[in-house]
Symmetry: C2
Subunit: 114 residues, 2 copies
Amino acid sequence: MASLKVIPAPLDVPVAPPVRRPDPLLRELLGETLRSARQRQGRTLKEVATEAGVSITYLSEVERGHKEASSEVVGAVTRALGGSLVDLLTDMTVRVVPPLDTVAGGAEGLHAVA
Amino acid sequence: MASLKVIPAPLDVPVAPPVRRPDPLLRELLGETLRSARQRQGRTLKEVATEAGVSITYLSEVERGHKEASSEVVGAVTRALGGSLVDLLTDMTVRVVPPLDTVAGGAEGLHAVA
C-alpha cells in the first residue's frame, strides 16, 4: 500500500487575489429573488400570476430575468407573495452581497465622492 | 399674563393606530435614490448622464420616477455614481424602511407562507 505523503505548499506561491463577481443585472436579480420566494412557499407560477393579475408566461419571463417588469408588476407580484417592497429589497440584497472572503477592499457605496 | 395649564390626556382616549404608508413604486424609489446620491456628490445631471452614456433628459425622467430605467441603465448610472448594485439596494432599502414607531406588527417578509 502506497503511503500518503503530505506535500506542503511552497511559501513563495502567491495567494490568488480575491475574486469579485461582476454585478448581475437588476432584472436577473429581481427574477431569481421572486422565483426563489415563490418556490419556498411551494406555490405555482399559475397561482402567483393569477393573484398578481399577470399572465403565467409574463411572470415566467420575469422570473428568468428575460423581461423588465414594470414597477406596477413588481409591486403586484411582491404583494401576491405576501411581502412588501422592503422585504423584496432585503431579499435581493442578501442574494447579491458577496461572501466575506471574496470581497476585495471595503465597499465604497453611493455616498462616496467619485 | 395667562398661565399655562397642562391638561393631561384622558386615559380612555384610544391611541391612534400606527400608520404604515403604502409602498412607493420601485421606479419612484429608484429615482429618488439615484438623485439623492448624485446631489450628495455635488454632481450635475449632465456629468452623470454623460458618464453613464444616457441622455440628460432620460436620466432626469428616471430620477423623477417617470420612466422605468432598463437594468442596463440602472447599472450604468450606479457605476457612474461610483457604486455597486449592493450599494444601490442598500440605499433604496434605507429610504423605504418605515420609522420604527410607525411599524404595525412585525415584517412578514417574502419568506412567509401566504
